[in-house]
């Protein structure tokens, strides 16, 4: 079937398929949409170029930034006064936490987690920047929100161990029962951890 496509479309299809979440069928559908609506193609092209020229990694936290100073919208927000630093794996994790509107502190994007099997080492993560920020930016708490995969757990432990002598509080996101769900649907591993890390009730 590939042989039926003109060479430029075949190469576009191949490029699209390399994107996360896009298989052969979605690639063809995108191509079809681009060809049917040239203005759509134009606007996507324009946006891509804009992103390529102006989006940078925030020089402080590692989130996406576009301003001249190289800081992102969160780092320049004067209203975020809570002296808490939340460490996440990827920029998209910041969006997830922000959606909850529950956090008013600062973020630090690690850019991954320790993963010797895939060759990810300490030097591949933004750890030096993290130590530097914790030393100089006056936080009272560092909260680790890296996830619960074995790699994430290990990275959490590694960071906490490194900060053992730091006077502030080191915490991690709790694991537990999703809000609004019944116990019988929660997997036993999550249940056993929720039980181990149970909370006192304040009345």
């Amino acid at each position: 079937m590939e042989a039926l496509l003109p060479p430029s479309l075949a190469s576009l299809k191949e490029a699209l398929e390399r994107l996360p979440g896009i298989g052969p069928r979605s690639a063809l559908r995108l191509i079809q949409a681009f060809l049917r609506k040239p203005e759509l193609l134009q606007s996507v092209l324009g946006s891509l170029q804009q992103v390529q020229t102006s989006v940078r990694m925030c020089r402080r936290c590692g989130f996406w930034a576009e301003s001249d100073g190289g800081l992102c919208i969160i780092c320049t927000d004067a209203g975020r006064e809570e002296p808490v630093l939340c460490v996440v794996k990827e920029p998209s994790d910041i969006l997830a936490i922000e959606r909850s509107q529950a956090f008013r502190g600062q973020y630090h994007v690690l850019g991954g987690v320790l993963d010797p099997l895939s060759g990810v080492q300490e030097k591949d993560l933004r750890l030096k920047e993290l130590w530097q920020r914790i030393r100089t930016e006056g936080y009272e708490e560092v909260v680790l929100a890296l996830g619960t995969s074995p790699e994430a757990e290990t990275t959490t432990y590694y960071i906490a161990r490194h900060l053992a002598d730091w006077p502030g509080r080191i915490t991690r996101f709790a694991s537990g029962i999703p809000v609004g769900s019944d116990l019988e649907y929660v997997d036993p591993l999550t249940l056993s951890r929720s039980l181990r890390e149970r909370q006192p009730i304040h009345v």
Binding site: L117, S149, P150, E153, T154, Y158, R161, D187, L189
Partner: protein
């Protein structure tokens, strides 16, 4: 997810592009069935399909289970409690849909249809390396406890990562410590579960084996380190240099073994052919009893071509296993033997496939 409660019974099984079957649909009565036919008639494919549906693993490699020239296969079972579809596609892997809902992660599915399987190669459990018995124990424990399965997956991942790190020149103590934190959280739990399993099975093994011979069976789990975080850390404080040198972790459940003894002798290397057969039938009895005791429902019993070369008492003992099973599926080349051992099982005759 809707729970499966009560007796799990397979009412119907449908295969598409599985092994040599393009399409096959079979309905089963409550007792189960015996598939009878010559070699290469495709009898085992039905047992394999049931095993895949229950434990998400067949008897061979996935690619071999796909019909020649196809990219995947689809299995559907209608149970007494609902319908499950288990499909496989090259490059995408296995997918489970229960009553219209996709199951993720797949580990959540294991244990919903408990299974006990006996195949001709199973004397490996006696003669084979420790890894065979570890896999066997993991399969049994995972069907009873999804906490065990989840913990095992975490342990294996952390172990692979620590081993990868040990092999790298810049593995620092701080990094090793961090991987060990997860290993000491998961490893001792696996050890304790296996340590508890051994005496439970030993009891039923002895009872059932008593029908065959006077030898007392011993089943003992041998650890490489005591099942506590403190013991693990202490062991590592001496072992680490050696581990860095060889590039792998030298303590833990991934190296441990179940030891089987008949009377005073280890079964491995000393058991006669007859004793091995008796031991395996007794083992299946113990597994059935264990699964039945831990679950609210009885397991499926899959017996693949094991009647051959069994004498009358052992054949009768094999038939006894059905008493503990929820439903039994048997394959055999000889109809007379099946009738003798499993008089209550209806027979499905399969012709030689062209």
């Amino acid at each position: 997810m809707k729970q499966i409660y009560g007796l799990v019974q397979v009412r119907a099984l449908e295969l598409r592009d599985f092994r040599r079957y393009e399409h096959a649909l079979l309905e089963f009565p409550t007792e189960g069935v015996a598939f009878v036919g010559p070699n290469a008639a495709g009898k085992t494919s039905f047992l394999e399909a049931l095993h895949k549906v229950a434990l998400l693993r067949g008897f061979g490699k996935e690619e071999e289970m796909v019909r020649w020239g196809k990219r995947g296969y689809r299995l559907r079972v209608r149970l007494s409690t609902g319908t499950a579809e288990v499909s496989y596609e090259q490059g995408k892997g296995t997918r489970v849909v229960w009553e219209g809902e996709a199951i993720t992660p797949l580990a959540r599915w294991i244990g919903r249809i408990p299974v006990v399987l006996l195949r001709p190669g199973d004397s490996e459990w006696i003669e084979g390396p420790a890894a065979v018995r570890r896999r066997w124990a993991d399969r049994l424990l995972s069907q009873v406890s999804s906490t065990y399965l989840g913990t095992l997956m975490q342990y294996e991942r952390a172990l692979a990562q620590r081993n990868a790190l040990l092999g790298q020149p810049d593995s620092t103590p701080a990094l090793l410590d961090s991987w060990e934190a997860l290993l000491v959280e998961t490893g001792p739990f696996l050890q304790r579960m296996r340590l508890q399993l051994a005496p439970l099975l030993e009891d039923s093994l002895r009872t059932f084996y008593g029908c065959f011979g006077p030898e007392k069976i011993h089943l003992h789990y041998k650890t490489t380190v005591d099942p506590s975080p403190e013991a693990w850390r202490k062991a590592w404080s001496h072992l680490r240099p050696k581990e860095v040198h060889v590039g792998r972790t030298l303590i833990g459940p991934h190296l441990e073994d179940f030891q089987v003894q008949l009377g005073e002798q280890p079964a491995r290397g000393y058991a006669s052919e007859g004793q091995k057969k008796s031991l395996l039938i007794a083992l299946k009895w113990a597994e059935l009893q264990h699964l039945k005791g831990q679950q609210t429902f009885s397991p499926l019993l899959l017996l693949d071509d094991v009647g051959e070369k069994l004498d009358k008492p052992r054949l009768e003992a094999l038939g006894q296993l059905t008493r503990l099973a929820g439903q039994t599926f048997v394959t055999d080349v000889e109809e007379r033997r099946v009738r003798e051992a499993f008089p209550e099982l209806p027979i499905v005759r399969l012709p030689l496939m062209s």
